[in-house]
Symmetry: C2
Subunit: 161 residues, 2 copies
């Protein structure tokens, strides 16, 4: 193995429950099957973080908020903010959480660690061109910098966040 | 450590020499200091691969071709093709390669494994908006999918390429 390529260790993200991580993984696999790549925990200009920001080859942006329990959903009073940063907004949850708690005007994905399914389609609220470009840049730069921090952990890229 | 987060091993890329990997790492650190994130080995619509594709917060795209020896540069007759996919085109090399062999109308970076310096600035040839959007999407999706293949190696994301 090259001296410049070493085994990488992804830091543990203590912010997320095991259920939330499982839902994130299964949801990302579903989105991949629909042509979307995914960046998790994407910081937005509003100061919030999108649990999953997804991007397809047309530049369409979806945001998926993961709610691993009823309490987790009820604690989030500001989820409407995410609409301003995506073409479609979804919640994703596990099959243990009743679907009825989620708002009818968002999409809903039910997932486990191995896959997921669309429970409700999400209405489209198309981004303005400038916002779309800003989101593409955010997604590109977050993904590239995280990859760089893994490839060159002694470089100037900071912690994997 | 969560069962869903395991140590990651980045596959060895046998296509690149030790010198080329060192130049890539040092160059990426320099570009970071100038506000650019970097994706390596980016497949382009032309079928070629950019050694380093760099993106700043304004959406400016630079491509850096790494040449680890005189022979390496002389073997590449098609480097002009990269101009169509970036705002500025650079070569990057080690200090053992004479700078005089590189074309005067491209930028030149001299690097080692720990850092780099601009030897010549690159002229700007600004991308059309549609090409810029295509490059942002390519960079975003390549970085995100590589990260996904590392985070979820049993997922549908293929090998890290």
């Amino acid at each position: 193995m090259s001296a410049l390529i070493k085994p990488l260790v992804l830091p543990v993200d203590g912010r997320q429950s095991e259920t939330a991580l499982a839902v994130a993984r299964g949801t990302a696999r579903l989105l991949h099957a629909h042509g979307f790549c995914v960046v998790s925990e994407l910081p937005l200009p509003s100061g919030r973080r999108a649990d999953l920001a997804a991007l397809n080859t047309n530049g369409e942006v979806w945001i998926v908020e993961i709610k691993s329990s009823v309490a987790d959903f009820r604690a989030d009073q500001k989820w409407q903010d995410y609409r301003a940063h995506c073409d479609r907004l979804f919640f994703a949850t596990s099959q243990d959480v009743p679907c009825e708690i989620f708002p009818p005007d968002t999409g809903l994905i039910v997932a486990d660690a191995f896959g997921a399914a669309f429970h409700c389609e999400a209405p489209q609220h198309k981004l303005a061109a400038a916002t779309r470009k800003a989101m593409l840049l955010l997604i590109a730069r977050a993904a590239a910098l995280r990859l760089q921090s893994l490839i060159d952990p002694n470089g100037p890229y900071g912690e994997f966040v």
